[in-house]
Amino acid sequence: MSFQGYVRSDGSVGTRNYVLVIPQGIISKSICEFIPGTKTILSVDHGSGRTANDRETIARVLIGLGKNPNVSSVILHAASPGVGYPELRVERLADEIASAGKRVEVLDPAKDGGTYGAIVKGMQRARQMVYEASRLRRESMGDEHLCLGVKCGYSDATSGIAGNPAVGYLYDKIVAEGGTALFGETTEIIGAEQVLAKRAVNPKVAQAILDVVAAQEVRAKATGLDIRTINPVPSNIKGGISSLEEKSLGAIRKAGTMPIQGVLQYAERPTGKGLYFVDNWMGHLSIFAGYVAAGANLVIFQLGGGGVAGRTLLEGSPSVVAPFLWTTANPETYRAAKDSIDFYSGTVIEGSETPEEAGERLYRTVIDVASGTLARSETLNYSDPIDMYLQEPRF
């Protein structure tokens, strides 16, 4: 099958067509408030006092977001040109993003007439850039240009038996058609890693899966705590999940059944197509930005139900430039927040649809949204800040 997408000069295909303004600050906000078709990120971390590894992760996120196929061009604001950490120098970020064939404009308050001058220049450039972007037309492109990212959350019994399997069907289909699919949440594969390792394309990848899980389990044990006081989280337990192993075995069903091609770091771009495991953390403010920086052009939050009672409005998690879909198989969650939810698979539990039929319907929903239909979260002009997954201590 195919979707209607924006073809970029590097051959990648976008499902959206934004001008991205990074990093954050009053300059980005001023530009984005006035110029439609622009996006920015909100993050609390600029790398100050961070280790080289964590600074490199921040750079990987910023560069990755800039190179994402949903971005037509980029405005970079140089916060402290020439004096920043080497990993985060504006020249480096600009060069790497430009290597994907995108126009990159740099704003430097020191050269552009101070903060006020940089805002004016940024607005002028952004107006040109969104105009330029608007001249591009969507074209019919194959599913091999889709790259999906998924997280499951507030998981309950409906997640493992219907919600995640529908996503798993979608993942199998996208991968079978040559596309790319990312899943992760290392803590939530503890107890299920033996199942995933058997699906690795080769022994090296199998070992990499076992290694990231072993490392995470060592970190968990080092706390001296019973993991059940941390994860499964209270809402999982309220929803019927009794142990981390049970949560993990339900969680991996969202990854379908295809071979696993590799293990990626947070925000790392896959080198090929197919299904990849990402060694990341479940936090919704962190995980989606990482998938999108890795190249995902559409992301999914598969929702259970425990702990969201009373939530009649579900705002999307920050996915910056990628459409963000909510799916659920929990009938109460769906009833409460119907106008926020893109896809419901509780039909499988109710017996009115087979898992395959639900999965096929999810696939068509994804193709629609990839082709331009708004995800429900896109009908709200709201974003939380992103919280990059940085693992080393601060000094």
Binding site: A192, K221, L225, I237, S242, E245
Partner: protein, 112 residues
């Protein structure tokens, strides 16, 4: 004494779902009251089991007696072990099942 239901339409069968043939628990797809029967669906065959207590939607029912310390299986894999003896038809949750992975608390007690 005849039950209240006698002579009326039979109650619709309550359903449970087993994820793998080797599992010793199933997930109930609607709330089950104590004493009610649950039809467990497994690749065409149906197994009927009587709940010995109330089990809410989405929670697990034991398909057989599970001795303390024995593995509880769902999805064909271990989801932990029975922390107390579990009777057939009982609800299985954190009060009688404990996960064994990533248990820092056990690590600490085994060290000293």
């Amino acid at each position: 004494m005849a039950s209240q239901d006698e002579g009326q339409e039979p109650m619709p069968v309550k359903r449970g779902l087993i994820m793998h043939p080797s599992d010793n628990v199933a997930t109930v797809l609607e709330e089950i009251r104590a004493g009610e029967e649950v039809a467990i669906l497994l690749s065409g065959a149906a197994l009927t089991i009587r709940a010995i207590e109330r089990i809410p939607f989405g929670f697990k029912i034991a398909l057989q007696d599970v001795p303390r310390g024995s593995v509880i299986r769902k999805y064909g894999e271990s989801i932990g072990k029975a922390s107390v003896p579990v009777a057939k038809g009982a609800m299985v949750h954190i009060h009688n099942l404990e996960g064994v992975r990533a248990r820092g608390d056990l690590e600490r007690s085994s060290v000293g």
